[in-house]
């Protein structure tokens, strides 16, 4: 009941925030000098392609890029009509990607599930590895198990992702015949799901999951370990021990839940990072996720694509923080969001 009211209230705040973010996003995208089409024209001229110039000019008119920035913003969001009527974000028209020459919705839609797949598997990897190891490292702190886990984690952390990927690709291919780059064997692309395709995807996922996951896992593990160590000597753990609980269950039920507080706070970041996380890694690994599309769009100032992805990520961020705030109360009943003493 209280939570329900809280959720409704947060939704309203969210819309407000989203609006502020939309202004900022638009401003930032347009911060670097030039715009997509003028860059495009320059590039076309530089490579001697007279032909494309006419097309670029055509698009400039059609997408109102010849209007002042504030009008472009209003058209983009859908507050005022563009050259061909209302068609903004709030009308459900996400715009056109000049770079890919397709509607923004299509591009994002295609890449979305791969993105979620890659990052979800990375997140699962992080949790699957970091949770048990972090708890173990805390329970067996200052033993070789603890040190080994820490060392391996830091090894992953201290290796630049791209280098790590290259190493894994190179030796993985050499010794285990793992594929290099991509998310599935090319012959499966556009094919319906089949057992072989799933296998291929899983095989391709190994290295990216590992590369994206290691740093996250190491970070989570160490933090969890620290938080767990704080909890382990608390009296309530002794009580639980006096009940005769087995260590694994005991740790999971009592101190882990306490130690989890800071991580729940960050669960809000999980959603957006599913989309925009690991951009650079995806770029260097050649994964067809949203990340590389975003980077390309930003670099070339493909403003509708970049804008939409950024707004999408922002929305997820907002939803994420809301979820994390609600989870926080569920996790720790003592937490209230009111002011002090109120």
């Amino acid at each position: 009941m209280m939570l329900l009211r809280y959720a409704v209230y947060r939704t309203f705040t969210m819309l407000l925030t989203l609006w502020v973010v939309s202004i900022l996003v638009f401003a930032i995208i347009n911060l670097p000098p030039g715009d997509y089409l003028s860059n495009q024209i320059a590039e076309l001229r530089a490579t001697g392609q007279a032909e494309g110039v006419a097309k670029a000019e055509f698009l400039r008119k059609e997408y109102a890029l010849d209007k002042p920035l504030y009008q472009q913003y209003l058209i983009w969001v859908g507050f005022i009509p563009g050259p061909l009527g209302f068609s903004g974000l709030i009308q459900g028209d996400f715009g056109w990607s000049f770079e890919f020459d397709r509607p923004v919705g299509d591009i994002v839609g295609d890449a979305l599930w791969l993105t979620v797949l890659v990052n979800l598997s990375a997140v699962l990897f992080v949790y699957a590895v970091a949770l048990p190891l972090g708890v173990l490292a805390a329970a067996k702190s200052e033993t070789w198990a603890d040190y080994t886990a820490g060392f391996v984690g830091y090894l992953g952390l201290a290796t630049p992702n791209f280098l790590l990927a290259l190493i894994l690709f190179y030796y993985g291919h050499k010794y285990f015949n793992l594929p290099i780059g991509g998310l599935m064997s090319p012959e499966f692309e556009g094919q319906p799901m089949s057992w072989d395709k799933v296998k291929s995807i899983l095989l391709h996922l190994i290295v990216p999951t590992f590369v994206i996951g290691t740093s996250g896992a190491a970070a989570m593990m160490q933090r969890l370990r620290a938080n767990m160590l704080d909890e382990l000597s608390k009296p309530y753990v002794e009580t639980a021990k006096a009940k005769g609980l087995a260590p694994a269950k005991l740790l999971a039920k009592y101190p882990l839940r306490m130690a989890f507080n800071p991580f729940v706070a960050d669960i809000g970041n999980l959603l957006p990072s599913m989309i925009s996380g690991s951009v650079l890694v995806s770029v260097v690994l050649g994964l067809q996720t949203i990340g590389p599309a975003l980077l390309t769009a930003l670099k070339s100032q493909d403003q509708f694509l970049a804008g939409f992805i950024l707004m999408f990520v922002a929305l997820l961020t907002l939803i994420g923080t809301m979820i994390s705030d609600i989870l926080l109360v569920l996790l720790d009943p003592r937490i209230r969001y009111g002011g002090r003493g109120a």
Binding site: E238, A240, G244, L331
Partner: protein, 589 residues
């Protein structure tokens, strides 16, 4: 018959320091109750914990042996594997920890925590265990077991948490129950109920009990054997009749002499003057919204209702009453830690004719001044001490906050305070967890006193102290009161203590004050059935005069069963009437 538990030449120490428990031996027979009494900090808790091998990380079991001879045959508890030990914990031997407030997980509902034992050792499913636990909750005196099941520990009063802890330890019907001061936070009628429950279980299952307590009355009523400890050593041990009847050791004699008693009162006292009051609680009502809900409709609890209390300058107002009746809540409201519901207000009179200050509407400046003059001793000293702050820092903090003295002076003051409460200055370096329960309670008192306050609210300040230390502390408090005109709002369950220190007593039950009078009047002529029940339930340290636990446990029964004159239903209580000058009773005309 072989003893169920044999503790032999136990020696426990910390680091390189001399042992804190030395050469402790005793036997517990099945079905028997052994009382462990002794000075605060003498190692009782450590001894108990070593039976379950749950000692602080820094503690070392230096030597000795502990054997347990339960249904599974004799076992050497010191050399048992962890796995085998887990089978014993909670199942064969269970323990009630001394500080129930800290010993419960703050994130889990009480029901969940208690039922876990059953699910673990008795293979019960959720529904079965819930049924058993609710029953147990009822037997330890929860008026609304269902609410207790759903509550989080922080939503419960001190005594309620303690009862949950008791329920947790007893619900699985262990062979040996180690109860480390299980009733300190309970009023005497509830205490009687719990002790009765223990007795009952002993009769039913042949459970043996190690009962750590400071209350010699409880010892007299419960124990067959007594072990007296002091400074880590056993001073005297033997059958209860012998030890209580004719203490042989000097320490034992001293201890028993210090036991306070409710005085035999010949005449009622004169009414109290209420002209120079220092604090005035007016129509204080406090309603809490339970967190238990989540997505459901919120449930509210009225902790206290329409409480009017006046603390007279230089005098002691004692509040006694049922566990969960809102005493702590009133105290916290009085010092501004909680905001009362609309309509209530608390006024503080700085004295010297200055205008009264509304505690809940002060400017920051006024607040700082107020906080210097009014201090509180929390019911739960462990929680109120910063776990990561050394005691030295904790004790100097109030001075630090108010910018009093230099570093060295603060330090000296801290040492002096420690001396006052009978602790060693060497302890300044320790963290709160490295103290015994009674020591922490004294630390809490010491901290409250460092600022030389004008008003001190003590929430059960001596419950964890053995009678001789308690005597010392009470003398100290009286001394300061007389010397520095300090006023107390004193919450306690121990009527004997109240009788000694109070100038006026208010009795609370179910969130309202049912009777209020000077102690002598009250003990001479208790009017309210609840007050009468309380006085009757106070155990006496005389083995020849046992109280009938079952009888007094009934207390005064539910308010709806009281004589017509006092009866009330839910929160619709009759008004408080002045029967004779200074003697208020809640009754119909």
């Amino acid at each position: 018959m072989t003893p169920l538990l044999q503790v032999d030449a136990l020696k426990i120490g910390f680091g390189t320091a001399p042992a804190v428990v030395e050469d402790v031996s005793f036997d517990v027979m099945p079905g028997e109750t052994l009382a462990l009494v002794g000075e605060s900090g003498s190692g009782k808790t450590l001894t108990c914990r070593s039976v379950l091998r749950i000692l602080p990380e820094a503690a070392q079991l230096r030597s000795g042996s502990i054997r347990f001879d339960g249904t599974n045959g004799p076992q050497d508890l010191f050399n048992l594997s962890e796995r085998a030990m887990r089978k014993i914990r909670g199942d064969r031997i269970s323990m009630i920890f001394q500080e129930p407030m800290r010993s419960l997980s703050p994130l889990h509902r009480l029901g969940n925590q208690v039922a876990e034992v059953l699910r673990l050792h008795r293979n019960m499913n959720r529904a079965q265990s819930k049924k058993v636990v609710l029953e147990q909750f009822d037997r330890v005196g929860f008026v609304d077991p269902e609410r207790a099941w759903r509550s989080y520990p922080f939503e419960m009063s001190g005594g309620m948490r303690q009862r949950a802890m008791i329920a947790m330890a007893m619900v699985a019907k262990p062979e040996l129950l180690i109860a480390d001061e299980p009733t300190t936070a309970l009023d005497v009628t509830t205490q009687a109920q719990v002790l009765g429950l223990i007795n009952e279980l002993q009769r039913e299952t042949g459970m043996a009990v190690i009962l750590v307590t400071h209350d010699l009355g409880v010892v007299a009523n419960m124990a067959q054997k007594v072990v007296v400890m002091n400074k880590g050593r056993v001073m005297e041990s033997g059958s209860a009749a012998d030890v209580l009847g004719s203490p042989a050791h000097g320490y034992t004699q001293k201890l028993f002499n210090a036991a306070p008693m409710i005085p035999e009162v010949a005449t009622p006292a004169r009414a109290m003057e209420h002209d120079d009051i220092i604090m005035d609680l007016r129509n204080v009502t406090k309603t809490f919204t339970m967190r238990a809900g989540g997505w459901r409709k919120p449930v509210t609890v009225t902790a206290c209702k329409d409480v009017n209390l006046q603390v007279v300058r230089g005098k002691t107002l004692a509040v006694v009453g049922e566990s969960g009746s809102g005493k702590t809540t009133c105290a916290r409201v009085a010092l501004g830690a909680e905001v009362p519901d609309e309509g209530g207000e608390v006024l503080f009179y700085p004295g010297d004719g200055a205008d009264p200050l509304p505690v809940h509407g002060m400017t920051p400046m006024q607040r700082t001044a107020f906080q210097r003059q009014a201090q509180m001793v929390f019911q739960d000293p462990y929680s109120s001490l910063s776990p990561r702050m050394r005691i030295g820092a904790t004790l100097t903090e109030p001075l630090d906050i108010h910018g009093i003295g230099t570093r060295a002076e603060r330090r000296e003051k801290a040492e002096e305070m420690l001396g006052w409460v009978g602790l060693n200055p060497e302890m300044l370096k320790r963290y709160p967890h490295a103290f015994s329960g009674g020591q922490r309670q004294r630390l809490s008192i010491a901290r409250a006193l460092t600022l030389d306050p004008k008003l001190l609210i003590c929430d059960e300040p001596t419950s964890a102290l053995d009678v001789s230390v308690q005597d010392q502390i009470l003398s100290l408090l009286e001394d300061i009161r007389d010397r520095a005109d300090l006023s107390y709002l004193f919450i306690s369950h121990d009527l004997a203590v109240v009788a000694r220190i109070a100038d006026e007593v208010a009795v609370m039950r179910a969130g309202v004050i049912v009777e209020q009078a000077p102690p002598d009047t009250l003990f001479y002529n208790p009017q309210h059935p609840y007050t009468q029940a309380l006085i009757a339930a106070q155990p006496e340290p005389d083995i020849s005069r046992p109280i009938d636990l079952d009888l007094v446990a009934k207390g005064a029964g539910a308010p709806t069963t009281w004589p017509e004159m006092f009866r009330f239903d839910a929160l619709e209580a009759p008004a408080l009437r002045e029967l004779e000058p200074g003697h208020l009773v809640r009754c119909h005309a």
